[in-house]
Subunit: 106 residues, 2 copies
């Protein structure tokens, strides 16, 4: 594997890892409906606002979202709409596993 291939692999893994947390995945799903400010996510998620802010920075570092400050608020939006599609793919996989769903949710 070349250095460039390795870098790409690591970057892809980083993006997938960023999606691999229930709270961050939820955020991405919410953002897929349209941009929103941090404060709006704080209302929808039961966690400290500092925790939410850190989760957003993980998504940003992974290249999945971008932010824009407008006034006091910072708005986040998905950089990659295809992310929504592959979350759907994962969902299909999970649902196909219906029989062992309980185990997977553990």
């Amino acid at each position: 594997m070349t250095g460039a291939e390795r870098s790409l692999l690591v970057a892809k893994a980083k993006a997938l890892k960023a999606l691999g947390h229930p709270t961050r995945l939820f955020m991405v799903e919410e953002l897929s409906k349209g941009e929103c400010c941090v404060c709006s996510l704080v209302e929808r998620i039961d966690a400290d606002f500092s925790t939410i802010s850190k989760h957003l920075s993980v998504l940003k570092e992974a290249g999945l979202v971008e932010d824009e400050k407008r006034g006091q608020k910072v708005f986040y939006r998905l950089r990659a709409t295809c992310v929504t599609q592959f979350i759907g793919c994962i969902e299909t996989v999970i649902r196909e596993n219906a029989g062992i769903h309980a185990r997977l949710a553990r």
Copy 2:
């Protein structure tokens, strides 16, 4: 969010998290070319075989791969071919980030 929605979210995050490691992502990419035995992956990956075995069990627990023992060997294969597609999606996202690629690979 209902309990079922929450379970689905957690299961999806678990699958994405499983993909969020360079070695496991590489394994999945290799498996997308066709099933193969653990011993074959051991040859392609520079890590202890016990480490490789554990990574495979993570993928299996997440519902992404299935295994079948044939003789001494255990063969693994992708349960979800769509996984390949969304890895392509992620790759597109990463490549779009070309300008900040170096930062993402860190």
